[in-house]
Symmetry: C2
Subunit: 307 residues, 2 copies
């Protein structure tokens, strides 16, 4: 592999940035990597474990001379960061982000981007429930989709170069309109997360079932919800606040559908339940055929198997 | 290990029974294993792949001379099976089941159990999203809980013997009152399953997002829902129909809580969302500490890693 960008600046040094840093190094894709995080402890860790070549107290200092700047901070602070770094961006540089919501990022970041800088919003559909600079690993993006929502008039060469970088990190790339991206993600990611958080919250409040019981007997179904509900609270708060419309739309449909199933349970309508549960199997088959999950049984996995 | 029961009869030959058969054989825990399934194809497969020593067209024939009979059929048909096999149960035999609901099974099976037969309701908290005689594996129960809800007057020796069997298959055992079991399970398993089915159903109906997109971009969160929603439709129909009260109770709480979060999103109450998402992390930590899941990141697992 060969260097694609001479200097990559990672703003925010959490799970995504630390995975990018590892993948960039493993592939020899960046001449050097600079980084910035708000917390001094995170900056120190990133340097200690060799994620980046340099860390900087400010985002502005980190982007100095970078030909690629990646915003890896929660969606809610991207606008402020963009405003801070704008005067320091090198002419011809590419500015991208990894936010889970695209319309809000475009609205917040777009107005600050100087002439001659290529702003290409992006979103890698990859992650784990873990956070911080130590959470990253080089294969996080392998065979995952990295979506771009390019603005009108985006320079094709700048886009192709950025795509070649994320493809070199193992990702598949695709383009989408920002609003459609936000709707699709509200279905496949945002609303499921909210629901998982809610279910875990309900278990937490139910007085007749003890915490000990919830923890002890969480083998089936709920365990997956707890993993989802362990994701980064700041990131997810910002996702819901900035993808409000699509989330509320999908939530409304979800509640309707849940009430229908709830009524079938109350009325004892077994045929309806059976039909519904049969149809949902087809989507699962599709996902396995598309190579986005394994069909190896997972519920029964031995504890600490991967640990 | 040594033989704990001379002849074990497995009624129903799906995931749980086939896993039991494999674990029984691996541990040398049963003198012989007989089996019955309604479908001729399943019976043939079970014999072909060596799960059982004999298969029988009727449950009554399978239980002949067995000192342990295990009902591994959907909860909704347990009563009918119990009625059929009752006259054929050997005096002193133990009759147990693996149903996910306990009160309904006790009500349906209990009245048919002859004097001198030990009926000990049970429930292994183990499973995968896969079904059928080929789905089983010997380690399914390793470090999982196998709950018993013994009736008043249960013979302590019969209970101890049954516990020693499932412990020899790797399970941990515990006792619980039937109604409490059904409430706990509605929280940690039944309601989460219904919610996952619902979310996958919503995605299936949303016209502005194509099936192809749902499948392609299902990387984060939703993928786990689709796995849960691929579970056996008959089993789950019966669970909801027979654990109606607890499920409706927990669903009501879930909806209340979801509306509260939905309102926080609508009103832009970021503090409330952040606090909520932070609290749910604690339960996850508890589960990992209790050894019921690994903290190895799972969202980012490479497709087909285990395949």
């Amino acid at each position: 592999m060969s260097v694609i960008y001479q200097k990559v600046a990672l703003i925010g040094l959490g799970l995504i940035a630390s995975s990018m840093a590892r993948a960039l190094r493993e592939g020899g894709l960046a001449g050097s990597i600079s980084g910035h995080a708000r917390s001094a402890e995170t900056r120190e860790t990133a340097l200690d474990i060799g994620l980046v070549d340099s860390v900087h107290d400010t985002a502005a200092a980190a982007v100095d001379g970078a030909d690629l700047v990646v915003l890896c901070v929660p969606v809610g602070v991207m606008g402020a960061i963009a405003e801070e770094i704008a005067p320091h961006l090198a002419p011809g540089a590419t500015l991208t982000d990894v936010g889970s919501v695209k319309r809000a990022v475009i609205d917040a970041v777009g107005p600050h981007v100087p002439q001659g800088v290529h702003f290409i919003p992006g979103h890698p559909l990859a992650g784990t429930e873990q956070s911080g600079p130590r959470a990253g690993f080089a294969t996080l993006f392998t065979n995952r989709w990295w979506l771009f929502t390019p603005l009108e008039g985006t320079d094709p060469e700048a886009l192709a170069r950025l795509k070649s970088l994320v493809e070199a990190m193992g990702a598949n790339t695709d383009e989408m309109a920002p609003d459609h991206h936000d709707l699709v993600l509200s279905v496949v990611s945002h609303t499921p997360h909210l629901i998982a958080y809610t279910m875990v919250g309900v278990a937490d409040h139910l007085r007749r079932v003890t915490h000990e019981e919830v923890i002890k007997y969480s083998a089936s179904g709920f365990r997956d919800f707890t993993r989802i509900a362990a994701s980064d609270p700041v990131m997810w708060r910002d996702v819901f606040l900035t993808n409000k419309e699509a989330t509320l739309d999908v939530l409304g449909r979800f509640t309707e559908e849940l009430f229908m199933l709830q009524r079938a349970i109350r009325m004892g309508d077994g045929d309806m339940l059976h039909d519904y549960f049969t149809r949902t199997r087809a989507i699962r088959r599709g996902i396995i055929e598309a190579g986005q999950d394994t069909d190896a049984p997972d519920f029964g996995r031995a504890p600490k198997k991967d640990g």
